[in-house]
């Protein structure tokens, strides 16, 4: 798998919505506070290079969820608000491919390469990344532009957000997607000054 500007990769930002600022609601502990800033870096580069951008927006069917449309939490985080021309994919399950026309939109635009980021690593990001890879897209995931919350194990054990995040990434890497940092992705997409210094 290769990732360059010329492969015309789409950026798919998953559920970067205000509701996730309420850490207490989602379990009490979150990792990687830089996730949204790193996602915004990816977004700014995609905009600069006029590459396709898709924003998945979780619209919970549970009226009590902060992700339900009746709540302010349904709105996008200010750092990554969609601009005109960027597709918004409204969904109500974890996978952005289920109950939506995302796959058809990507096929229609002849998009073969996807870069994913967003919230949360082990739920919506993992599920959408798994499906993207299984549907045949060349899939890349920005590990530092995603984050999650702590979880309780089936035997009652406590798993920290960072452990859930890292184990989720380990299960994804080289099976469903190539997992890279935001800096690595930007370097591949937007030229490489360092290698230019070496080779020119």
């Amino acid at each position: 798998m290769t990732l360059t500007k010329n492969t015309k990769p789409a950026l798919l930002l998953i559920d970067i919505q205000k509701a996730f600022e309420n850490v207490a609601y989602w379990g009490g502990e979150r990792n990687n506070p830089q996730a949204e800033n790193n996602a915004a870096q990816l977004l700014n580069t995609w905009r600069k290079l006029h590459l396709p951008v898709f924003h998945a927006q979780h619209c919970s069917v549970n009226p009590h969820s902060p992700l339900h449309e009746s709540h302010l939490g349904n709105g996008f985080n200010d750092l990554v608000k969609p601009m005109p021309g960027e597709m918004v994919i409204r969904k109500n399950v974890n996978s952005a491919f289920i109950g939506t026309n995302l796959e058809q939109l990507l096929r229609d635009q002849k998009i073969t390469h996807l870069v994913l980021a967003g919230l949360t690593t082990d739920h919506c990001v993992s599920t959408t990344t798994r499906m993207a890879g299984n549907l045949g897209f060349q899939t890349f995931l920005a590990h530092d532009a995603t984050a999650t919350f702590c979880k309780k194990g089936v035997n009652g054990e406590h798993f920290s957000a960072e452990l859930i995040h890292q184990t989720a990434l380990a299960s994804i890497h080289e099976e469903f997607a190539i997992v890279l940092s935001t800096a690595q992705i930007l370097n591949l997409i937007d030229g490489n000054e360092f290698s230019e210094q070496i080779y020119h």
Copy 2:
């Protein structure tokens, strides 16, 4: 979500194939050696009660994989060999719902409840369970009838098979499926002698 014999749940066994006996090939360390025996217990009960059974069979497109059809590893483990009348779903990606007619078969048979087990917890079982839940099936996963292999983290750290298994289950439970033990599932499906003793 409820699970009883009367909900006519289908049992979906994922990739319980001989290839997974080669632990060295899959990373060198596996957890839960009882997974196949527990899956066989579920299968025997489903057969006794004439409930629907589906076997997913991974047919790798990589000729070097032990799961490729040219290798003996592609065959089912002897403990859970399909019998006439049980559906075999041949697939070549992690999800048993992608590139197959599994969803259509389930809808045609008016199946609404699914019990999953098989290999491996964090790859094919997790991906198929996630999609089952997101597609709207009432989904249950038998945690002790699944197993996985150790993984390397994106920062090079080693994660044991048991840790990958337990964190994968923690991310699935109550988000995509209800995670139960084989005994708990059998108790729900095949009567409850203990509660009969209490209530009669």
